[in-house]
């Protein structure tokens, strides 16, 4: 198996990683890029814990091979806060008490971020639909939806 060189933008910074092609994007980000906010849950695209944004679009990184993100722009939770300042969404998750065990949180925040980037003032139904690919087994979702509502200024 030949190693491959993958160049992409990670959290606004260009990076080049040399790695084996039989790695998934979730493995590449966690093992080679130290982005451990990306969580592996079900490994089959059901739970959304490994959600990252590829060119602004939420995808489950356990369903992508590392080589597939060549040239793409990737956003993980590490790239959301700027100069130590939390993103508005992160603050609202804290304020609304939307975090319990925290395992689903990075994926939830990124799915919500993708929604707000396209639609700054979503309806409650739009929020529910945008987060329908992220499972949370602690909160019952109410406070998570509330957090997104707060960030959207609803």
């Amino acid at each position: 198996m030949d190693k491959i060189k993958i160049s992409f933008i990670l959290n606004d910074k260009p990076v080049t990683v040399e790695t084996y092609p039989n790695k998934r994007v979730v493995d590449l980000l966690r093992e080679d890029c130290e982005c451990t906010s990306v969580k592996e849950g079900c490994s089959e695209g059901e739970c959304g814990a490994c959600t990252v944004l590829v060119n602004g679009t939420p995808v489950t990184s356990c369903l992508m091979l590392a080589g597939q993100i060549e040239g793409d722009s990737i956003l993980t939770l590490e790239g959301l806060s700027k100069d130590g300042e939390l993103d508005k969404l992160q603050t609202s998750f804290v304020e609304a008490g939307a975090v319990q065990c925290g395992y689903c949180t990075p994926g939830m925040v990124l799915s919500a971020k993708a929604l707000l980037m396209k639609n700054p003032h979503p309806t409650h139904e739009e929020i529910r639909r945008a987060l329908s690919g992220n499972l949370c087994r602690c909160t019952g979702y109410t406070k998570i939806f509330k957090a997104v509502d707060m960030a959207a200024g609803n």
Partner: protein, 293 residues
Amino acid sequence: MKAFNFYSPRTLTEALDLLDKCKSRATVIAGGTDVVIELTERQRDTDCVININKIDELRYCKVEDGKVKIGALTTFTDLENNSYIRENVKGLHSCAAHVGSPQIRNLGTIGGNVVNCSVAGDSPTTFMALDATVVLQSKTGKREMKLTDFYANCKKTQIADNELMTEIYFDAPAKEVATATMKLGKRKALVIVVVGLAVLIEKDDAGNISRAQVVIGGVSPKPARLPKVEEYLVGKPVSKCTFAPCADLLSDAVREMIPTRASMPYKKEGVKGVSDKTFGQILADFGLQEGGR
């Protein structure tokens, strides 16, 4: 995951060359929503993986010469956001909008869903109701095939090792045509199809049904046209009364198709509700009555 070499061609020609060289030892990956799981769980043994997801020329949805043509790399999200599909092919729009989750719809491609021909696949049922044709290309040429023929064998398509599915197309629905799709699953998001139903109805000037294409999915190994239901419908007026008995006809069809399967008692009841909702949407598409999902 086992070891393999990875190739990421940028053009169709390059991909077909690679495929011709690797043949049966190659695995083609597009969105990856099925293939990566198979690779991770070591269900698939492969020497080389060909990533076709960067071939932008296969990402389109256009109407040309009276046909709706969809490139193999078009994602479910692309279809869901396409205004022509939303207005004119409601069955396909609804199908795309209810696949998996937002993340899966962003990754999953039409070509992958059609070629993978999962028993519980979402789009094959709808495309069969639209009587779609697939375009297959290899280094040596191009051929076309009706989806019904493409799925001739159980769980296996007619695609050759050196071929890529590049496009699927169907007749652009005229004003007199309505389409609807509905799936029954255990919850709203992230479910696989328990029973899927896709319907195309064409009416004549008098308001009678001149063509009916009814396809059931999630029951047999591949989606199946239901000639008995279609024959019952043709010639009758487009109305709630005409569609009501379809629930029982479909229920009978399920019982006949899977008489011994443990899920039969559930599916034969479930399909009745699916029938009412799907035909309700057909009426709504014709502007005859409120639909709703």
